[in-house]
Amino acid sequence: MTEPVLSVRDLRVWYGTDRGPVRAVDGVTFDVRPGETLGLVGESGCGKSTLGRGVLGLTPAAAAVDGEVVLRSPGGAGRNLVGLPAKEIQRLRGPELGLIFQEPMTRLNPLMRISQHFEEALRAHEKGLSKQEIRTRALDALRGMGIPESRYRSYPHEFSGGMRQRIMIALALVLRPAFIVADEPTTALDVLVEAQIIKILADLRKNFDTSLVLITHNLGIVAEACDRVAVMYAGHIVEQGDAREVFANPQHPYTRELLRSTISLSTTGLHFIPGSPPDLVEPPQGCRFHPRCPVAMRGCATVEPPEVVLPTGVVSACWQQAIEVEPSLVDELGPDGREPLAAVKEISVADEA
C-alpha cells in the first residue's frame, strides 16, 4: 500500500467559551492516500467542518489545536502542519493544500471577473507567471469543469449555482494541490446539478492524483463518490473504513442508526435516533453515543471504547465490537459492565436536535 499523503494523529481542536472549552474535534486519527477520496460524514455540530479546517490550519485564532497533521507531498516534506508558522503554512496553501467551500453563491467576489479570480489566485501562489501562462492555466482548469472560454471574462452573477461551484473547483484545481478539502460542496445545489458535481469530484480522483476529503451530511454522496468513509459523532471518528464495506455492513451503532434514519427511495417506515448530539463542553462520560445507543451496556457509560480494527479492515470505536475482537478487554468494562444499560432513559423532545 502506498504511503499516505496526509496522516492525522490524535488531532484536537478546542474552542474557548465562557462555559469552558468546546471540544469540537477531540482526538481524531486518520490517513488519506494519494488519489483517494475520504468521505467525512456526520450531523451538524459533530465537528466535521472544524476537522476540515483544522487539517488546513484554517481554524480561528481563538481555537487551540493539538496533535499531528503530517503532509507528505513534495512541498509538505513530512512536516507536521500543527504548530507550523503561519507564513510557512500559507506557502503550502494553493500548491499543496486546497479548500472548496460550501455555498458557491457567496464565495466569489461579485465585483471581480472570473478571469480576475484566477489571476489573483495564481499571482498569490505562483509568482512569476506571465499573463499568457495565467490565461492558459485558467482556461485549462475551466475547460475541465465544462466552462467555455467565452465566459472567462464574465462576472459571478452571470453564472448559475452549479456553474459557480464548478468555477470554485476550477479555482482550487488550477494550483494543482496534492490535497483538497471539499466542505459540503453540493449543499446549496439542485439534485441534478448535485449529481453532476459529484460526478466531477468522482472523475477527479481518476484523472488527477489529488487526494480529497469530502465533508458532507449526505450519506448517498459518500457512497457514490468516496473510496473510504469516516463517520463522526461528537468530535470523534466512531467508524472508518472502505465506503462499500461500511455502508453494506455498518458496525458502529451510530452508523447503523444514521443509515436507518436516512430517508431514501426505499424507505417504507420512518426511523429516527432519539435525543440529540451531546453538548461538546461537557460530553458524556464513556462512549459519547451511549445515551442514545440502542445496544449500550453499563460499561459504555463509564469507560471510553477503544478503536479496534475489525477483520474487514474497518476501524470502529464501540465496546460491542471491541470485546468481540479482543475478549480480554472485557475486564476494562468492570463487573457487570456487559449488562444492558437500563433502558435508554426516556428521551423527550426537550433534548432533540
Binding site: E43, S44, L139, R143, G146, I147, P148, E149, S150, S160, G161, G162, M163, D190, V191, L192, V193, E194, A195, Q196, I198, K199, H217, N218, L219, G220, I221, V222, A223, E224, A243, R244, F247, A248, E257, L258, L259, S261, T262, I263, S264, L265, S266, T267, T268, G269, L270, H271, F272, I273, S276, S348, V349, A350, E352, A353
Partner: protein
C-alpha cells in the same frame, strides 16, 4: 382530472380517506413582470416576464397529501403560495370550497387565512427572534380574534405545543427561538400553523434545513397532525425520496409547468417523463449494492424569463424528438460543448468559421441565418455542420439535437438552418395508471400523426 385509483397510500397517516375536492386550480398563471431599462419604459416595450407558474390545472382533495416536486426555479414554491392566496395569480382561477380566491382582496382573504396555513422552509428565519414562543405560537389567535381572554389564549397555546411534542409546554412558553434547536423551532412553527385550526397546510421544504436524524421525526409529526386534525397537505420539495414516502399524489414541475402528475406509487414505479426519470436517477443511493452508473442530463434549469421553445426540458432531454422545440440557442450550446472537448487550437479553428457565435444566443429562432467568418463561405459552414451531423449519427448516446434540424442551405451569403416547428406538449392522461404526462413521446398515437 385526476382520480385516485385503488392503491395503498404510501405514508402511514395517509390512510385517511381522500374526499371531495378542496382546492381546484384551473389555468393558473403567475407571471412576474421584469423591470426593463429606462429606455424600454419610455418606448413602452415590455421587459418580459418570468413565468413562475405557467398554466397549471390541479385538484387537491380533502385529506390528500400532494407533493410539488422540482428543482429551484421550477415554480413549485410560487405555486404552493398561490394556492393559498399568498401570491396573486395573474390568470386562471383557484377555487377553495367553491369560492374563487383569486378574485378576493386582502380583506376578503383574511377570514380564509386561518383555514389555509403555510410552513416555511427555514425554521431559523420564520420565527421572530424577539418574540417568545408563547407570543409567536399564539399570534394567529390574536390576529383572527379567536380567543376571548388570556386564559383561553394560554390554554390554546399549551394545547398546540403539546400536539407538536414540545412538552412540557411550560418549559417552552417563555423561551425565545434562539434557545431552541432546529427541530424544536420547526415544531414551534408547526404549532403556530395549526393553532387556528386550519384545513390545508402548505409546507415548503419543511425538513430540508434539518439534520438527517431529525427529518424523520418532523415528517412523523406531520403525519400524526394530519391524522389527529384531519389536515390536507401540499408538500413542496426537491427531495423525491421524502416525497415518495410522504405523498399520495405527486406533481413534477419544470419551469412553471407540471410535466408529470399522478398517484405517487405509479409515478415512482413507472416514471413517464424523461425529466422524472432523470430526477430519480440523480438521487445518490446510500446502499452501494443499489447504486447504478447513470447518464445525467446536461446543463441546468434554464432562465424562466427566456424559456426554451416547445418543451422546456428539450435542451437537457436525452430522447427529445423533432417537435420538442429546437432552436438556434441549442445549436450554440452544441457548438460550445464540442469546443470544450477539443484542443484550444482546434476549437479556435472551428470557431473562426462563424462570424459571431453569440448571435445564435437570441431566443426563439426557429430559422437562423449564420454569417460565415472572415475568409469563409456559407458552404464552409454548411459543410462543417453536415460533418457534425454525420459524426453525431454514429456516436452513442445519440445527440437528439439533429432530429430537430429540417434543412440547411446557403442563402444570400449566409448558412441558413431551419428547425422543425415547435409544439408544446400537453398534459395527457394515461388511462391505465391515472398518471398525466406532458411529453411528445407519451402522447396518444392519434395526435402525433397529425404533424
Amino acid at each position: 382530472m385526476l382520480t385516485k385509483p385503488d392503491i395503498e397510500p404510501s405514508g402511514e397517516g395517509a390512510a385517511a380517506e381522500v374526499g371531495e375536492p378542496l382546492v381546484e386550480a384551473t389555468g393558473l398563471e403567475v407571471h412576474f413582470g421584469l423591470r426593463g431599462g429606462l429606455l424600454g419604459r419610455f418606448s413602452g416595450k415590455a421587459a418580459g416576464a418570468v413565468r413562475a407558474v405557467d398554466g397549471i390545472d390541479l385538484t387537491l382533495r380533502k385529506g390528500e397529501v400532494l407533493g410539488l416536486v422540482g428543482e429551484s426555479g421550477s415554480g413549485k414554491t410560487t405555486l404552493g403560495r398561490t394556492l393559498i392566496g399568498l401570491t396573486k395569480a395573474t390568470a386562471g382561477s383557484i377555487s377553495y370550497r367553491g369560492q374563487d380566491i383569486t378574485e378576493l382582496g386582502e380583506r376578503g382573504l383574511r377570514p380564509l387565512r386561518r383555514r389555509l396555513q403555510m410552513v416555511f422552509q427555514d425554521p431559523h428565519a420564520s420565527l421572530n427572534p424577539a418574540m417568545d414562543i408563547r407570543t409567536a405560537v399564539g399570534h394567529p389567535l390574536r390576529i383572527h380574534n379567536l380567543v376571548a381572554d388570556d386564559q383561553e389564549y394560554e390554554a390554546r397555546v399549551v394545547d398546540a405545543l403539546e400536539r407538536v411534542g414540545l412538552t412540557p409546554p411550560e418549559r417552552y412558553l417563555g423561551k425565545f427561538p434562539g434557545d431552541l434547536s432546529g427541530g424544536q423551532k420547526q415544531r414551534a412553527v408547526l404549532a403556530r400553523a395549526i393553532i387556528a385550526e386550519p384545513e390545508l397546510l402548505v409546507a415548503d421544504e419543511p425538513i430540508s434545513m434539518l439534520d438527517m436524524s431529525v427529518r424523520a421525526k418532523i415528517l412523523q409529526l406531520m403525519l400524526d397532525l394530519k391524522r389527529d386534525l384531519d389536515l390536507t397537505y401540499v408538500y413542496v420539495t426537491h427531495d423525491l425520496a421524502s416525497a415518495k414516502f410522504f405523498c399520495d399524489s405527486i406533481a413534477i414541475m419544470y419551469l412553471g409547468r407540471i410535466v408529470e402528475y399522478g398517484p405517487t406509487a405509479q409515478v415512482f414505479a413507472n416514471p413517464q417523463h424523461p425529466y422524472t426519470e432523470a430526477l430519480l436517477a440523480a438521487i445518490p443511493e446510500p446502499d452501494p449494492e443499489r447504486a447504478l452508473p447513470r447518464e445525467l442530463p446536461r446543463g441546468e434549469i434554464p432562465d424562466a424569463a427566456r424559456p426554451p421553445m416547445g418543451c422546456a426540458f428539450h435542451p437537457r432531454c436525452p430522447v427529445a424528438v423533432a417537435a420538442c422545440g429546437w432552436e438556434a440557442r441549442d445549436l450554440r450550446t452544441l457548438l460550445e460543448n464540442r469546443w470544450l472537448e477539443l484542443a484550444p487550437e482546434a476549437a479556435a479553428r472551428e470557431k473562426s468559421l462563424f462570424a459571431d457565435v453569440e448571435s445564435l444566443a437570441a431566443e426563439s429562432l426557429s430559422t437562423v441565418a449564420i454569417a460565415p467568418g472572415r475568409g469563409h463561405t456559407p458552404e464552409d459552414v454548411l459543410e462543417y455542420l453536415r460533418h457534425l451531423r454525420e459524426e453525431a449519427s454514429e456516436a452513442e448516446p445519440r445527440e437528439p439535437f439533429w432530429r430537430g434540424v429540417v434543412t440547411m442551405h446557403a442563402e444570400n451569403g449566409r448558412a441558413v438552418v431551419e428547425f422543425a416547428p415547435p409544439r408544446d406538449p400537453r398534459l395527457s392522461l394515461i388511462q391505465a395508471t391515472g398518471v398525466q404526462v406532458a411529453c411528445h413521446l407519451r402522447e396518444p398515437v392519434a395526435s402525433t400523426t397529425g404533424t
